[in-house]
Symmetry: C2
Subunit: 337 residues, 2 copies
């Protein structure tokens, strides 16, 4: 039995089994000829000592440590938790452990990621600077980008997964348009200025492009942005609904925002969806339980997870990664006609 805090090493196993350390190593990695007899003795010793190879040392030898890091912006958002679970599900079968970490836009953070031994990184972050992402890529770390915005300046061995955000939002706009809405408003957390400069955010871009295609003229009235908490957004929506400028549909960045918008609209005495439609994004648990149940756009998280792992495997094998294009699914409930 290993004493407290005194993890047994390969040497202990070798001594107990009466073989050299190398034999132990070969048995465990199953890559050289080892006699059946010694193999058995080694395995028994391993069992008896509860020995297991130290993955730090193993990683130092460049063997990887079967760890995938999932970096996200807004860790508190349920969306990432659910995605983590999916990732974990498909990764565990392949021998990987996945963990979720909050992104920090900070050189030290990048350094620590790089100097840690992770086999791959999955990034879903609007805030992480492209130069930092580039740095990860340049250091030969397999990187999978969950595309919520352009990473125009990032080049090299990067994999990209388009989850269908842009076309999903476009479909939502068309749906509302076809159901008779003529005055749509896009609701986002981020301030409009940041988006307008370049249409980097895919949802924003999808909204704008589809609106323009349908012949609408976009103006400041087409957006509510920059609200960071419940009350702020609630008030902003109320002001907008009560103002002279007509509104009959809200297209929201995610279900969390949509829920607040919905409450505000109802509080203003408007009927949903008769007078005003609301559509969210994510198909969060909340979207299902609120009343009226929220219409929303669902990404296929299982497919995202599988795509991510497929891309990672390819990159680890040294292949040049491709892009994956997935599709969203409209979940029509009670806030749209």
């Amino acid at each position: 039995m290993p004493r407290k805090g005194n993890t047994p090493t390969r040497k202990d196993v070798a001594d107990l089994a009466g073989v050299s350390e190398t034999i132990v190593s070969y048995v465990l990695n199953a890559n050289r000829y080892v006699s059946a007899d010694k193999k058995k003795r080694v395995l028994e010793a391993v069992e008896k000592l509860h020995y297991r190879p130290n993955s730090i040392a193993r990683a130092l030898k460049g063997k990887g440590n079967s760890h995938i890091l999932f970096i996200a912006d807004n860790v508190a958002n349920n969306y990432f938790g659910r995605l983590l679970q999916e990732l974990d599900g498909v990764a565990y079968n392949k021998g990987y452990l996945v963990s979720l970490m909050s992104a920090k836009n900070d050189r030290d953070f990048i350094n620590r990621i790089l100097s840690r031994q992770v086999d791959a990184v999955i990034i879903s972050s609007a805030s992480l600077a492209e130069s930092y992402v580039q740095e990860l890529v340049d250091n030969a770390l397999p990187v999978v980008l969950l595309m919520t915005r352009d990473y125009a300046t990032v080049h090299g061995r990067v994999a990209r997964i388009y989850t269908g955000i842009e076309s999903g939002i476009m479909a939502a706009v068309r749906l509302l348009h076809e159901s008779g809405c003529r005055n749509l408003v896009h609701v986002d957390r981020v301030s409009r200025q940041e988006h307008f400069s370049s249409r980097q955010d895919l949802r924003f871009r999808g909204f704008c492009n589809q609106m323009e295609t349908l012949g609408y003229q976009l103006s400041a009235d087409s957006f509510i942005t920059g609200c960071h908490d419940y009350d702020e957004l609630f008030e902003a929506v109320c002001r907008r609904v009560r103002s002279d400028v007509p509104v009959d549909g809200f297209v929201c960045r995610n279900d969390d925002l949509a829920s607040i918008v919905l409450n505000a609209v109802l509080a203003c005495g408007k009927k949903v969806p008769e007078e005003i439609s609301v559509i969210g994004f994510d198909n969060s648990d909340t979207s299902r339980v609120i009343r009226p149940a929220l219409s929303t756009i669902a990404t296929d998280q299982k497919a995202i997870a599988e795509a991510a792992l497929e891309l990672i495997d390819a990159m680890i094998k040294g292949q040049t990664p491709g892009e994956k294009h997935l599709v969203t699914r409209m979940v029509i409930r009670d806030t749209t006609r």
Copy 2:
């Protein structure tokens, strides 16, 4: 400039600065006398090469790698995401990185945690076997337990944080009782059998104890358990509400369950809170946006995070860890009288 995939090492820095590797090490760890001149040259070389110490190698030398692992059961639950964010907030200032990983009740998982270099582990899991937790403890890994149930058989250098779950549930029961409810039902995911055997789950225990203290007789009618998805629970609640056995209050394991219960109760045509009260747990984002807004019990996540880091610091310093007892806060909204 480092070539792609070719991270510079200490030796590169030493060569460029014209000093020995040891000097570089001393400069970076600031623990020996180094002449101002060489120190300057080293720092310049570090800057120029974008060198940074490999934390794998560093960890191998037993220096730790400033990484805290947060292990949770139900990673998709928003509660853990929010807690991760808080943990991350307080930990980052102290130089730690925190990541969240889904618990697996599996020997291999424990082995991999142990052989990875994490400085500490925070566990919030009902499913992880106590023997595995014990194993982590026995290997001198600082472990903080977020107590949602007893860990009766776990001994040694473990820290425990009581987030106030038990007293929180008790307060909820009293609240409903005092507001006139006489037929309370406890709603949980886990099946009753698992709980009944020993009152290990703190919420379950809190509910039972307080009910008994108030003089109620508990029976099978006092519980709805074992429902794992929306529809299942919805139906179970409807059946219960429409049955002959009276109900006038639901005390739920968490807000997610409470939301479903609430919808079912309303769907049965009952008035909330006039005829039936519902109270949740967690103060999740959802609890705020659903209508009627859900009364719930909030744990102080910031305090939990701070307590966890305090305990970890103490354990790393070699002190014997204590226990922290925190309190919950009742958030009375519109589903209770």
